[in-house]
């Protein structure tokens, strides 16, 4: 895949094709502009996007004070939520990123850090 991209980036067609005498030669074409990568390896979410969306989900939770939400806030210790609220936030994240988080992992997530890390490392995060 990388080889193909490399080759495509460096092909240059000759300036003069089958032109009749007197017409201007075509400008040299660079195929870089029409490069199309067919692999989906590059469409992971960026970390900033993950952080923004996770914080939005947490902030829009009705029991949470939005001004206290930072990327490393702990749900139960800093925001004063209880375990049911924790599960509810995790379900909100599942909905936002179209994931299905297995129980063992979901039990581990109890702060924004862990949530961001888990989602960023998940290959199917949308």
């Amino acid at each position: 895949m990388a080889m193909r991209a490399f080759v495509l980036r460096h092909i240059q067609l000759p300036g003069q094709t089958l032109t009749a005498t007197g017409s201007k030669p075509h400008p040299q074409w660079y195929l870089r502009a029409s490069l199309r990568l067919f692999s989906s390896h590059d469409d992971h979410l960026t970390k900033e996007e993950v952080i923004d969306r996770v914080l939005d989900v947490v902030k829009s939770f009705p029991k949470v004070d939005p001004s206290k939400v930072t990327p490393d806030v702990h749900f139960q210790k800093d925001l004063g939520l209880d375990s049911l609220d924790n599960v509810e936030i995790v379900m909100g994240l599942e909905e936002e990123f179209k994931l299905e988080i297995p129980d063992k992992e979901a039990d581990r997530i109890d702060s924004c850090n862990l949530a961001i890390e888990y989602i960023y490392n998940h290959p199917m995060a949308g």
Binding site: S60, F61, P62, S83, L84, D85, V87, E88, M91, G92, E94, E95, E100, D103, A106
Partner: protein, 132 residues
Amino acid sequence: MAFTLRSVKVPPNSASLEEARSRVFDFFKAACRSIPAIMDIYNLDDVVTKSQLRSTIASEIRKNSHVTNPKVIDLLLFKGMEELGNIVEHAKQRHHIIGQYVLGRQGLVQDLDTKDEGMSDFLKNFYKSNYF
């Protein structure tokens, strides 16, 4: 829709409070995961959002949070699963869902006219519920 879609997953005995607790969370997750289907079946898209429904389910669960006997928790879970099954297999109707889970108590009380403004607190409480 299969009638056994939400068959009883709660065996009659939870050994301890911890086990009952994890069953409650499993039930809550199952309910949340079926919210998109529920919104689709009953056309609730312009009445309520998914996060509001989640909060409603959480507050219903929280109403019974003071219970400490695992057998009582099992029974409540059984009833919850039954309710969820009924809703998902379209055994209920839209007005049931809206009345029970979307509108709070205030939404079901009649509007107060001008003649009711002098109503005493006793009467207000009486209209609200049997026990006050």
